[in-house]
């Protein structure tokens, strides 16, 4: 029963925050400062998430094969490679480094 309570609370909470963002009135969003901020927030969030997914293991920071994969993705991006090639480069390099170094 406890688990169902936890699921219920999480479902409601997570849905409410998703909806809240969409329901902010358009008038508020037309103010230049809010526009700038709303444009920059995803940049901050994505950057932090990218770093955490590449360099974190649970709550500790690690430098492993994923870092090499991310570097490969960065190089591919700078060479203006298509999206799927960027991902493939990251996956292949990570697998390669793991196969070599364990």
């Amino acid at each position: 029963m406890n688990i169902w309570i936890a699921i219920g609370v999480t479902v409601l909470g997570c849905y409410a925050v998703k909806l809240a963002g969409l329901l902010v009135p358009a008038g508020v969003l037309e103010r230049p400062l809010v526009r700038r901020l709303a444009a920059l927030l995803p940049v901050a969030l994505l950057a932090a998430l990218t770093a955490q997914q590449a360099f974190a293991d649970g709550r500790s920071l690690v430098l492993d094969a994923r870092a090499a994969g991310l570097a490969a993705a960065a190089v591919a991006l700078m060479l203006r490679a298509p999206f799927l090639l960027v991902i493939a480069a990251a996956v292949a390099v990570t697998a390669g480094v793991r196969a070599l170094g364990g």
């Binding site: 688990i3 997570c14 963002g21 969409l22 927030l41 590449a54 991006l77 991902i87 390099v93 990570t94």
Partner: protein, 207 residues
């Protein structure tokens, strides 16, 4: 897969996946329950991980310009991936299409994976050995890269990376990313101050 190991039933696992649909929150909830946390403590952690979706919604609502009646349905799909793909599109049409395609395909895939995982289907071996865990950050990086047009965006991204990684070991799961979001107002504020003191100087932001 993870949740099956922590005492959730098949129905509970699938309900969680269908109704919450925010991967990080699901894992956090399951992890906290497995560690013996109470239902409200566990839900609070999951909630913190979900708060960032509100920021995506803020940006998406002006980008997609959805009719009011559609918003409650679209809301469920406001997650990292849909926001990233939509924001990367140059036109509103593209953004809407990106949002729907990403939302639908992820929703279907995610829930099928959950179902099969929970059914105990054989995993495809060690996914880490294939380097698949690097796909996540690579996708985010590829989506982030076109957004880094000016120095302001780069400063925000750099500061967010520092905050997100630096605070990871010391704050509860989900909170570091929220703190990293503060990089956006912080950089805007710093730029505002600088342009206020150099009124006559060229303003990089106005390009």
């Amino acid at each position: 897969m993870t949740s099956a190991g922590s005492g959730l039933t098949l129905l509970q696992t699938c309900a969680l996946s269908l109704l919450v649909f925010t991967g990080a929150s699901q894992f956090a909830l399951v992890g906290a329950l497995a560690a013996g946390g109470g239902p409200f403590t566990a839900a609070a952690g999951a909630f913190f991980l979900g708060v960032r979706n509100a920021f995506y919604g803020l940006r998406l609502s002006q980008l997609l310009a959805l009719p009011r009646a559609v918003r409650p349905f679209a809301a469920q799909w406001v997650i990292d991936e849909t926001a990233a793909v939509s924001l990367a599109q140059p036109t509103r049409r593209g953004a809407r299409l990106g949002f729907v395609v990403t939302g639908l395909s992820l929703y279907v895939l995610w829930n099928l994976t959950t179902l099969f995982g929970a059914l105990g289907a054989e995993a495809i071996g060690d996914t880490d050995a294939w380097g698949l865990d690097a796909a996540g950050p690579a996708v985010f990086l590829a989506l982030l890269a076109p957004m880094l047009r000016t120095g302001t965006e780069r400063a925000v991204a750099g500061l967010a990376v520092l905050l997100g990684l630096g605070l990871l070991p010391v704050l509860p799961a989900g909170v570091p990313v929220l703190v990293a979001a503060l990089a956006a107002p912080a950089v805007l504020w710093a730029r505002g101050r600088r342009s206020a003191t150099h009124q006559d100087g060229p303003r990089e932001e106005e390009r």
